[in-house]
Subunit: 142 residues, 4 copies
């Protein structure tokens, strides 16, 4: 599983992990029943402290995306696919709506908004090549 974490971003690192795992499940990169990397493994991969990873995993379990089998590890829940997808999209939809509300409040017309959105859609390629967390961390080591 490819996880991207940016320790310099404003969002908490543990939240980034939560989002990344949800995204990975939402796009089908991990399937129900599969295990997700152990806390220690993920911590080693991302160069993060195990506690930070554990906090993210606890949140994923709380949301019903994964479940714990004691002594064995964490596994993707059966119904995690649609669940992760819907959760992630609700979050993204909320962000989108807040964005639009703020943009309009800043005086942007709908036409202007559409133009900016189209330009942003064009400038970010639809399939950015995945980069591992370890790699991205090396490039921006805080």
């Amino acid at each position: 599983m490819m996880i991207r974490v940016d320790p310099g971003a404003s969002a908490p690192v543990f939240q980034q992990i939560v989002n990344e795992v949800k995204s990975a499940i939402a796009r089908g990169a991990i399937m129900p029943g599969e295990a997700i990397p152990s806390v220690r493994q993920m911590a080693a991969d991302t160069l993060l402290n195990p506690n930070t990873v554990a906090k993210a995993y606890r949140e994923l379990e709380r949301e019903g995306i994964v479940y714990t089998r004691r002594g064995l590890g964490l596994f993707v829940a059966e119904r995690a696919g649609p669940l992760a997808r819907s959760r992630r999209r609700e979050e993204l939809d909320d962000r989108l709506r807040r964005f639009i509300a703020e943009a309009r409040r800043a005086g942007m017309t709908t036409a202007e908004l559409r133009a900016r959105i189209e330009s942003a859609l064009r400038e970010t390629p639809p399939e950015s090549p995945a980069r591992t967390a370890a790699e991205s961390l090396r490039r921006a080591p805080r």
Copy 2:
């Protein structure tokens, strides 16, 4: 000046004030040379701690959007219109790009994204350009 602040939102309150003032200037609701409400006035209006308002005002001054006239209060800078507009749009553009990147990472296709954006644009209609009552009875500062 009509300021909307939500203490429960994830964004810091002082940042919300900064954004709201910038937006008000960007959309022309408040013009260069006009005064903005005093820290105390704004704190009373919004039920916020004066320290929080003061921090927001410091930030606005730091960005050159407003300037202090000793003993008189804070005034909107001459060049504040374009400045506020460009600053606000840079921030919004950044958010937009991050949003698109995350949505794609969650497995959304460009077509899906466009559909959701259109739907969000339709469901939040632009604010009516008429000024609110609160806005029209703009107070002199201090």
Copy 3:
């Protein structure tokens, strides 16, 4: 607020804090709108690490019993009274049902169960004098 914590018990300490706060709200010892002791204060009172207290408080917030006002502290939610009461009773009812199921599975008749329950009810006085956590910690310092 009187909080009892037993570090030697099988239940995690942070969970004991959650239960104790819920109980305090359920029995009316803290009222909606009131602040609960700050993380640092509670940590000092209970001789626990602030992180442990913070973890408990996070859970209480997640359940909607308390809410955070940034920079100010944690406050009991308006609807926390009934909420804490119902949550706590659901938990206790679950325990009760599991207890009865296990007892029956161990071969106890309903009559035997009733006898044991009556005897247990009699031997624990209805109003045990409150003892502070600090006190109980001193008596059983691990």
Copy 4:
């Protein structure tokens, strides 16, 4: 022997096995001198890891409920009946007392407690004394 184990429950799986075996002996479903299923058999029946079953059996042996006959397997001790019964009831009594203490701390009166207990007793009727099918086709160990 019919063993019910819930891997998702809060109690450790090995402890559930211990309790289930004790309960089976306590209620007379399995008699002194009889063999209990081998570790492998029980592991296969319950889909659990043999190590987990072995740990449970070690605990049962430590408590004197069962004993090992080298090369033959594990057998229920002669005095196991009363022993299992008393052990199990001590544990259940402890739970009961803790339950009552916590319920009172949450503000429940003795009258309320009695009402809830009566209701819980009524809604979970005692298990029918008839042995289950699985139990009746008890297997010889190994």
